[in-house]
């Protein structure tokens, strides 16, 4: 095992938003409650929506398969609770507005509260599992990237002769402000994450594992170092500069290995696999305990919530129940966000369920949002170029955004709109308060519609 303090190289651009992790970073992941009803979205991941294999009024058990993957890039779904399928209907979805979901009414009498599993032993040995076993277990458990994008993990780690992979990076950056669930996972489930990393590395054929953590989480670095003392050959721990979006896959790779993922490409193209820390833990549990991904750690935070906490919740739990469990909100709250304030999705309907990719529920007050942003006071672009400076992908956000605004999609594409990672740095620094990221996202949706990849 080697530990490297700071890397010389980093990605250019980026911003330093206030971290505000103190609200929850010292709160253990606690098990909470069995929700009255869960809605399992059929589309929680990138790729084709899952196909339900249960029908209305079917009885389901916790951990039972309820929807099948419907393609290569897709994922299975499992019921987190014992109960009865109430309906398969449209439910509020943070991105799509409404989307198909399996709604399960929980059996109130017969439902043990699922507690977070114990951490692994530090002497875990991956050699008793074959590559095939690992890949199948990951696919059957329906594991997708839990950091936000939701790319099916099986596709990432499966051996692919045309794209051999050599290095696995465990992403423990958690660069989004407020969120601390990955941090807590790293502290409380250190060995599970390491075990998952070893299993994933074995499946993918990676000989080198790098655990990357931002330097604002020194404790996480320390626990990894302690855990790796005994059984950690080929595993490196790397402290990275705290900068948003350090945890963005492309930025992470640049910072860790000084390698560049080609525009439009994915990390396997240059022989890399990047897994979020929570995803690695889920891999370990799926392979060793055959446990499907039905629960995850979620940070419920923000200045507007009475008791900010890290909770171990059933996927499908409505946001409103989590807020209630955390003591409700203060009156001044203004925005409910699935995820963090930089990339999270503001929701209007509090019955929106938690998905596999939801790492936080952040509730902001007007003070945090800022008066100008709250009132959406947008002034004209003064072409100051701050967005160009902040863009980690070296794009020209203002030109792209204004091209989209003026209905010139061709011009936006010409300025590499599709290379945008939607990190939000441009909007964050904009002195004129222009929703640059919003326009660029709109442009991407318009383009997808043009190509008929998305419903009208």
């Amino acid at each position: 095992m080697t530990i490297q303090a700071h890397r010389k190289f980093s990605f250019s651009g980026g911003v330093h938003p206030p971290e505000r992790k103190h609200l929850t970073e010292n709160r253990k992941i606690q098990h909470c409650f069995v929700p009255k009803q869960v809605s399992i979205m059929l589309s929680q991941h990138i790729g084709a929506a899952a196909k339900p294999v249960v029908a209305k009024n079917d009885q389901v058990k916790a951990g039972q398969l309820i929807a099948q993957a419907s393609g290569f890039v897709s994922a299975t779904m499992h019921s987190p609770v014992n109960g009865k399928v109430k309906e398969i209907s449209l439910q509020p979805h943070a991105v799509l507005g409404r989307s198909q979901a399996i709604v399960i009414e929980t059996d109130q009498q017969n439902n043990p509260l699922k507690t977070p599993p114990k951490d692994f032993n530090e002497n875990f040995d991956e050699s008793s599992f074959s590559i095939e076993q690992i890949c199948n277990a990951v696919a059957e458990a329906g594991i997708v990237g839990m950091g936000g994008a939701g790319f099916p993990t099986r596709v990432k780690i499966e051996p692919n002769p045309s794209q051999p992979k050599d290095t696995l990076i465990i992403n423990g950056c958690e660069c989004e402000p407020y969120i601390s669930c990955d941090y807590r996972m790293m502290l409380e489930r250190t060995n599970t994450i390491i075990a998952g990393a070893k299993l994933a590395a074995k499946a993918a054929g990676c000989s080198r594992i790098i655990i990357a953590v931002e330097d604002n989480k020194p404790q996480a670095v320390e626990v990894f170092i302690n855990a790796l003392h005994k059984n950690g050959k080929n595993i490196e721990v790397l402290k990275l500069k705290t900068k948003y979006p350090q945890g963005g896959e492309r930025q992470l790779i640049k910072s860790v290995l000084n390698k560049i993922v080609p525009t439009g490409g994915i990390p396997p193209a240059i022989g890399l696999v990047v897994l979020n820390a929570a995803t690695a833990a889920a891999v370990a549990e799926a392979v060793v305990f055959n446990q499907p991904l039905t629960h995850r750690a979620v940070t419920v935070t923000g200045e507007a919530i009475a008791k900010p906490s890290n909770l171990y919740v059933s996927i499908g739990t409505p946001v409103s129940e989590l807020i209630e469990f955390c003591g409700g909100v203060t009156l001044k709250s203004a925005k409910v966000i699935l995820g963090g304030p930089m990339m999270g999705l503001a929701i209007a309907d509090l019955s929106t369920p938690i998905t596999k990719t939801t790492n936080a529920v952040t509730i902001l007050t007007r003070n945090q949002i800022g008066d100008a942003k709250f009132a959406r006071r947008v002034t004209p672009c003064i072409r100051c170029g701050r967005c160009l400076e902040a863009c980690p992908e070296h794009l020209n956000p203002t030109t792209i955004a204004h091209a989209v605004k003026n209905n010139m999609l061709d011009l936006a594409i010409d300025y590499y709109m599709t290379a945008c990672i939607e990190c939000g740095c441009c909007s964050y620094v904009c002195p004129a308060n222009i929703e640059l990221t919003g326009y660029i996202k709109t442009g991407k949706i318009l383009l997808a519609r043009q190509k008929k990849k998305m419903p009208q």
């Binding site: 439009g264 304030p341 992908e393 939607e422 904009c430 002195p431 004129a432």
Partner: protein
């Protein structure tokens, strides 16, 4: 429970910058040259600056009424009209009659900015448009230079001072600016060394010249303040100053007796104010770093061409306006390549 929920695209928080803060920092940066101007030109500095600022603000307000804005005062809040007024005031002679300052300010805002659609849409630096208008219309007034109130007599040795016929003010005496003398030296093919004796006064501002341009040190400190506040970046000022310096150094090396030294060039005239406060006007400058360098080098070079070969002693205004006009082309030329390289498709 929740009284109201707002839904908007991410990100949901924003950084500390606002247009008003950017402009406010420019104004703070301009305060030191303003104080220097008050020290050297006394009442002229206060009345002229106040007149320009107030005229600019009122013109913008009137334009907003004509444009049927719901709240005509709203756009004044970004303080850009104040900045334009200050820069215009700083780049005209101290003794400029107030009526012409009003006309220049109105022209700067109305024709330089508002007809294009207001802040952010203008092609040319409004203050420079106003100054160009004044130069074209009131040439004599724009070349009558007041002697700083801190010196008793006109420049020793080169005393070209005459009494101003345009101002009733009893203390108004005029003299040529260092750049004026430099032009004389170029025409008579000798005497550059004499002009260089004014280096120290030019550094601190004890020379004739435009109201806010004489004190190099004051402008430099104001510029450094803006750099620290990240209101401007280093690229444009560096590009302007390095190109000016190199051009001046080359001609100075060839004929040291005819052309003044590069440091003298930088300390005199409007090049420093331009480098930190005019060329850095974000609206009319290119977006990318590479573009800023092209823009800055263009300004420095054109300024020096005018100073060395042209009819006018100083050339900042023309060079800024010329480079402003090709800013869109520079932007197109300096298209960024994404971090991951150009996509293959």
């Amino acid at each position: 429970m929740l009284s109201e929920i707002i839904v908007s695209p991410s990100p949901h928080i924003s950084g500390p910058f606002s247009t008003r803060r950017v402009m406010g920092d420019v104004i703070i940066g301009l305060l030191l040259p303003f104080i220097a101007a008050i020290y050297y030109f006394r009442l002229y500095a206060i009345t002229l600056t106040a007149t320009c600022v107030i005229s600019c603000v009122i013109t913008e307000y009137i334009c907003n009424i004509i444009r049927k804005k719901q709240n005509p005062a709203e756009s004044l809040g970004d303080l850009s009209a104040v900045v334009t007024g200050m820069i215009l005031a700083f780049s005209v002679p101290p003794s400029l009659p107030l009526w012409s300052a009003v006309i220049g300010s109105a022209f700067a805002i109305a024709i330089g900015k508002m007809v294009f659609g207001g802040l952010g849409s203008n092609i040319f630096n409004p203050a420079m448009v106003g100054r160009a208008f004044l130069t074209a219309s009131f040439g004599m007034l724009m070349t009558t230079w007041t002697v700083p109130a801190t010196i008793d007599s006109a420049m020793p040795n080169i005393g070209l001072g005459t009494n101003s016929s345009y101002s009733d003010d009893v203390i108004a005496r005029t003299q040529a600016t260092p750049l004026g003398y430099s032009k004389e030296a170029i025409k008579s093919k000798t005497g550059a060394k004499e002009v260089e004796k004014q280096f120290r006064p030019a550094l601190f501002g004890e020379v004739g010249g435009c109201l806010g341009e004489t004190s190099a040190v004051a402008i430099l400190i104001g510029g450094i303040y803006m750099l620290i506040r990240k209101t401007i970046n280093l690229h444009t000022p560096l590009a302007v100053l390095i190109s000016t310096f190199v051009f001046a150094a080359v001609v100075n090396l060839i004929k040291p007796d005819v052309y003044i030294s590069p440091l003298m060039h930088i300390a005199s005239g409007g090049i420093l104010l331009c480098a930190f406060f005019i060329a850095t006007d974000p609206v009319t400058a290119p977006l990318s770093v590479k573009g800023m360098w092209i823009f800055g080098i263009g300004i420095g070079t054109i300024t020096m061409i005018i100073r060395v070969f042209g009819e006018y002693p100083g050339g900042v205004m023309f060079s800024v306006l010329l480079m402003n006009s090709i800013t869109p082309l520079i932007d197109r030329l300096c298209k960024l390549t994404p971090a991951g390289g150009k996509p293959n498709a």
